[in-house]
């Protein structure tokens, strides 16, 4: 590092109650910020609307997983018990979707669950072990009992002084600057 001043990451505002951060989130949304987020120890009911977020698309990953699981199950059983090595057992049909159903059903659920989990990881870009937020000691309280709001420097509406004033005056929060390496 040849400069003693690192690149700014954004401004971090700290709140003490759920109502305060809820109010601040609505103000940020209405002010037209895009690169910002709130950090809370638990999901706050109604925060998605307060931030103006769209509905989470995780369900599509679940659906794709489930679809794959069901047809993998059916195809596997058809291939094994009817196509590759037909073996008559008890005079029963070599393949019907009825006897193949329980296993296909379990595979639907198994792959839906994996789709959901990995879909959520993909959408949230997890795991992500480096985060400029972690450099702030106060931010550790975000998993305990404090509520944080961060407006990032990459936001087109971001201005170090204007945004700081916005957060302190309009949202009544204690604000600190975050830096990247």
């Amino acid at each position: 590092m040849n400069s003693n001043r690192s690149k700014p990451h954004g401004l971090l505002a700290e709140f003490h109650t759920a109502a305060d951060i809820f109010e601040a989130a609505m103000r940020c949304r209405d002010a037209g910020f895009t690169q910002w987020d709130v950090y809370t120890p638990f999901p706050i009911h109604g925060m998605d609307e307060a931030m103006g977020l769209r509905k989470s698309p995780v369900g599509w990953f679940t659906f794709c997983g489930g679809f794959t699981g069901f047809f993998t199950g059916m195809t596997m059983i058809w291939y094994m018990n009817k196509f590759d090595y037909p073996l008559v057992v008890g005079g029963k049909p070599l393949f019907t979707p009825l006897y193949a159903f329980p296993v296909s059903y379990e595979m639907t659920i198994l792959l839906s669950a994996f789709g959901t989990l990995f879909g959520m990881f993909f959408l949230n870009q997890l795991p992500k072990f480096y985060n400029p937020l972690f450099k702030n000691e106060r931010f550790k309280k975000s998993t305990d009992d404090r509520f944080f709001l961060c407006i990032e420097a990459t936001d087109p509406k971001f201005g170090m002084d204007v945004t700081r004033t916005f957060l302190t005056e309009k949202c009544h929060a204690a604000v600190v600057e975050l830096v990247e390496d």
Binding site: T17, A19, L53, P102, E106, I109, L117, T143
Partner: protein, 476 residues
């Protein structure tokens, strides 16, 4: 009209006292208190009793492993299995353990979908119990095959051809069971882990030691509590709950197909799937109470796992216990009404044959004991509830023993009759499985938050931005 004034503020009357819900966390504890109380359990050194409990449990677990090694090297003959009763304690133990798991999934998934907020205080420990119970359950069917390498190698359990290029036989409920139980174990683990991520982040942010920080940091995946993340997370959690619900119902249904699809009198009944599922939930709630009642007092968590939680779980025991009792009666009725002499004989033999003692042990534990819980005084007396929960565990083990052994031990021809007695290896292996279960549970208490921290916070009034305790100032 109550008010004729022009005031804009409409004052709603307070609800009558009996309609006010008791809060889920008692004594108006703050968010920080909740973090300290729960995270403190696995951060502080374990109390004195933990070490002897752990050593005894590990001893039990090692005994079981040693006896399994003895079984594999000698043969299934070291168990008391004989010709008519080729399934006995092994499959009894399997169904017993897998059934216990069901309460964890019921609490974590079904009660979540039903918006029962009280589940947040008990779901973490119950889910842990599920996973550890499934681990114990898996051991018995795998090792009852005797030459276990054939079971684990392709052709029997795994969908790959055997030495003669023959594939597994998917018409068999036993193979359905392999898929059901392994899916159940996997999905329960995923669901548990998803729930743990925010709490692992809490432990990461509080941890002082290098090792703890590294491992909690690794497994919390860099979780920040970002609301954009919570949004996807909550959707994923809801979907996993939605997937686990049909899963848990299917698992014990399929376990019951292992019996119901056969033509053995006493097994071949259509009532089995719902009867098994109700029994599983009954036994699982018994085990949840057995574990949580000591846990809440040993770790001073009475404000989070309150008497109301105990009360509600006793009501579940009462409901499912009544279903189980009904199923016992209905089985007998159908055995008579169905008109099959073999079926009727199997049931008469169950109650009055050589295994009468196991039948009546089952009846007294499962049919009588839950009915104490009609009384609130008994539902909220923790010592009484704990004792009854032990009886439920015992009764449900006997139920599976009764179903399996009494149906098998007298085959159609009297020349094929026999009597099953467990060998010492049977007994010690089963006892050892409790060692494995308790070892895993004690390690869970030692290293992971026993209660879902973020979920409990989420149901407090402080979490609600529109509640005065959440900081709301006026009317919105």
């Amino acid at each position: 009209m109550a008010s004729s004034g022009k005031s804009a503020v409409v004052k709603a009357p307070e609800p009558p006292a009996e309609l006010v819900r008791e809060s889920l966390v008692l004594n108006n504890r703050s968010l920080g208190w909740i973090t300290n109380a729960i995270a403190g359990v696995c951060e502080k050194p374990m109390p004195m009793w933990w070490w002897p409990a752990f050593i005894v449990s590990v001893g039990g677990m090692l005994t079981m492993f040693a006896l399994i090694a003895y079984l594999v090297s000698t043969g299934v003959g070291v168990w008391g299995l004989n010709h008519p009763a080729a399934w006995a304690w092994d499959i009894t133990n399997f169904v017993f353990w897998i059934g216990i798991g069901h309460a964890g999934t019921l609490i974590s998934a079904v009660l979540f979908l039903l918006r029962q907020k009280w589940r947040t205080s008990v779901n973490r420990a119950a889910e842990a119990m599920t996973i550890f119970a499934v681990a114990c359950a898996g051991i018995f069917p795998v090792f009852h095959t005797g030459r276990v390498w054939f079971a684990l190698l392709p052709g029997y359990l795994l969908p790959a051809p055997n030495a003669n290029a023959i594939w597994p036989q998917f018409r068999s409920p036993l193979l359905w069971d392999v898929f059901a139980v392994s899916t159940y174990g996997t999905v329960s683990l995923l669901f548990w882990y998803v729930g743990l991520i925010p709490d692992l982040a809490t432990l990461r942010d509080r941890s002082k030691g290098v090792m703890r920080r590294f491992f909690y940091g690794l497994f919390s995946l860099g979780w920040t509590g970002s609301n954009r993340h919570w949004s996807n997370y909550e959707k994923a959690y809801l979907l996993l709950a939605g997937l686990s619900t049909p899963l848990v119902l299917s698992v014990h249904s399929i376990v019951s197909f292992d019996f119901a699809v056969s033509v053995v009198p006493g097994w071949h009944t259509t009532i089995f799937p719902p009867y098994f599922v109700a029994g599983a939930i009954f036994s699982g709630f018994g085990m949840v109470l057995t574990l949580l009642i000591p846990l809440r007092s040993l770790f001073k968590l009475e404000d989070i796992v309150t008497l109301r939680h105990v009360d509600l779980m006793c009501k579940v025991l009462l409901a499912t216990g009544s279903i189980v009792g009904y199923a016992y009666g209905m089985e007998f009725f159908i055995a008579w009404y169905g008109g099959s002499p073999y079926e009727l004989y199997a049931f008469k033999n169950r109650a009055f044959g050589p295994y009468w003692w196991s039948y009546w042990a089952m009846i007294s534990c499962n049919v009588i004991s839950p009915h104490f819980f009609w009384f609130k005084k008994l539902r909220t007396s923790v010592v009484f509830v704990w004792i009854v929960s032990i009886f439920v565990n015992i009764g449900m083990w006997f139920e599976r023993f009764v179903i399996i052994v009494t149906s098998l031990h007298r085959d159609y021809l009297p020349s094929s009759w026999g009597y099953f007695t467990p060998s010492w290896v049977d007994i010690m292996t089963f006892a050892g499985s409790f060692g494995l279960f308790m070892t895993l549970f004690l390690l869970f208490i030692r290293f992971l938050p026993v209660i879902a921290i973020s979920e409990v916070k989420g149901v407090t009034p402080q979490a609600d931005p529109h509640h005065p305790l959440g900081g709301a100032k006026g009317h919105h």
